[in-house]
């Protein structure tokens, strides 16, 4: 997909599939990829998220509300996928290099370090560092307490420091 996603507070609420996909497709895919660590699984999650959106036709107050809804459904869909009986017995995981191979901007070392974190840690890291969500918002998205999210971020940062050495300022 050549067109990079643009979203944020200024974006209008999109209801038709095409504009929804253009606006939020990458966002949903990136979170799903971080959670599932597999392109095939992440694409399954993307399909499920947009199908649910089309089926339920939720009314959104704002673009931020719409974005948060999609992220929450992404978390839930990938959770269901990871919890499925098939997934528990067959877990093909793509290497980080394969997931971000084609770009000079990409840093597989950093991505690999994040993918090696436990599921909820890497989700919290992604929402915090990439989606710029506050701890309170991450807690609401992941249905947990703020203290738990703080604890996840703290532990995740420690693990990232250990994995990345002194090359990166975490």
């Amino acid at each position: 997909m050549e067109q990079n996603t643009q979203y944020g507070q200024q974006a209008p609420v999109n209801n038709d599939l095409d504009s929804l996909y253009v606006t939020y497709g990458d966002m949903v895919y990136r979170l799903a990829l971080v959670r599932t660590r597999s392109t095939a699984d992440a694409e399954d999650v993307v399909q499920e998220v947009f199908l649910r959106c089309l089926k339920n036709c939720p009314t959104f107050e704002s673009a931020e509300h719409q974005k948060a809804w999609l992220l929450k459904v992404t978390v839930n869909c990938s959770k269901s996928l990871l919890g499925s009986a098939f997934r528990r017995h067959a877990v093909p995981e793509d290497a980080a290099g394969e997931l971000v191979a084609d770009s000079q901007e990409a840093d597989p070392t950093v991505y690999d370090a994040v993918l090696r974190l436990p599921e909820k840690y890497r989700t919290a890291i992604h929402l915090y560092y990439y989606e710029d969500y506050a701890v309170r918002e991450i807690a609401a998205l992941m249905r947990t307490s703020e203290s738990t999210v703080k604890s996840w971020l703290h532990r995740a940062r420690g693990m990232l420091k250990e994995a990345l050495g002194g090359d990166y300022e975490v």
């Binding site: 599939l17 997934r87 436990p118 992604h126 307490s145």
Partner: protein, 346 residues
């Protein structure tokens, strides 16, 4: 280089396939056709003569009445008779959590012969720094979604709202509230953060972490609290037990009729001499606190972390007692789960 910048740039280079949109359109069209087929069938059912419908409804009412009565009987029996606690210990969920890992390459837990030995090991650890890095890729992480729970063919959803647990029945079209459970009043000076709700047959478990400025009733702070409610009458849940285990709540799930609860209990080491009660994890049932027996405590030599991972099993049928409990010192800063096995990683 800043991690945030590198991570952002990397993510910016990741894009979803454009042609996936066609697949979504196809699946949406297919779903619409299937829904239309369902609607046709529904219309056919509406055309059944009223008398026949009434007769069916009457029959259904009798069946439902019998089922509700049966549920109440089951709940009453579970509360009166002791549950088969011994059989739970034999179930794989707890035994595998510890014993399956003894022969694995990743972990080799040590047993402890006395509380004195344990205290000595804890103090040694306080002087060390953690060096071991777990091989996370050897661990399969799965999460079980228990926010929505299917019981007897009905999807229930659970939510916490203003110190109440709201139980709702979900259908495609709407969510209908069926019960509102006031959570147990907090003890003086204690703050409880409720983090998990699990519905299983006639039992509802509300799990969270209790924080207080100082230790209460011999428990460490913070500790995990498990409130058990009976749902024999689904519209009037009744609180029947409060269980606690030392440490901050980490994870809970139900498998094969056993509720497994995992918490982290950090050990605070000072220069004063420690008693076993200072160091060892505890459990409590309705305010009665007990220290974990030394036979249920293990040491993970591959981690120098001074933190117990406390794992307990509760018979989900009664929910009033702990059936089994284990703790691993340095057992895990992380827990990864499959349905049958929690894995501990240092």
């Amino acid at each position: 280089m800043k991690f945030k910048d590198a991570y952002r740039r990397t993510n910016d280079s990741v894009h979803v396939r454009a042609d996936l949109l066609e697949t979504i359109r196809y699946r949406q069209a297919k779903a619409q056709i299937e829904e239309a087929e369902k609607q046709k069938k529904r219309r056919w059912w509406i055309a059944i003569p009223t008398a026949a419908s009434a007769a069916m409804l009457a029959g259904l009412a009798i069946v439902v009445g019998l089922r509700v009565g049966q549920n109440k009987d089951v709940a009453a029996t579970a509360e009166q008779a002791p549950s088969a606690l011994d059989s739970i210990v034999e179930k794989p969920i707890l035994s595998n959590a510890i014993f399956d890992t003894e022969n694995s390459d990743l972990y080799n837990f040590e047993t402890v012969d006395s509380y004195e030995t344990l205290a000595q090991r804890i103090e040694e650890r306080a002087l060390q720094s953690a060096e071991y890095v777990g091989d996370l890729h050897n661990v399969v992480a799965t999460a079980l979604n228990e926010e929505q729970t299917m019981v007897e063919g009905v999807v229930y959803s659970l939510d916490i709202e203003q110190s109440c647990l709201v139980v709702s029945v979900q259908s495609d079209e709407k969510t209908t509230e069926t019960a509102r459970v006031p959570l147990e009043p907090t003890e003086a000076g204690e703050m409880i953060v409720y983090q998990k709700q699990i519905l299983s047959e006639n039992r509802l478990f509300v799990i969270g972490t209790a924080y207080a400025s100082e230790a209460k009733n011999g428990m460490h702070q913070p500790n995990t609290i498990i409130l058990t409610y009976t749902l024999a009458d689904r519209t009037e849940p009744m609180h029947i037990a409060t269980l606690r285990q030392d440490g901050e709540f980490e994870s809970a799930r139900i498998a094969d009729g056993v509720l497994t609860v995992i918490s982290y209990d950090s050990v605070t080491v000072s220069e004063e001499r420690h008693s076993p009660d200072d160091l060892c994890p505890h459990i409590a049932v309705n305010g009665q606190t007990a220290r974990l027996p030394i036979a249920d405590i293990y040491i993970n030599p591959q981690s120098s972390d001074n933190c117990f991972t406390v794992i307990t099993a509760i018979d989900a049928g009664s929910g009033t007692q702990f059936a089994a409990h284990k703790a691993v010192l340095g057992g895990g800063d992380l827990i990864e789960e499959e349905k049958q096995h929690p894995y501990l990683t240092p």
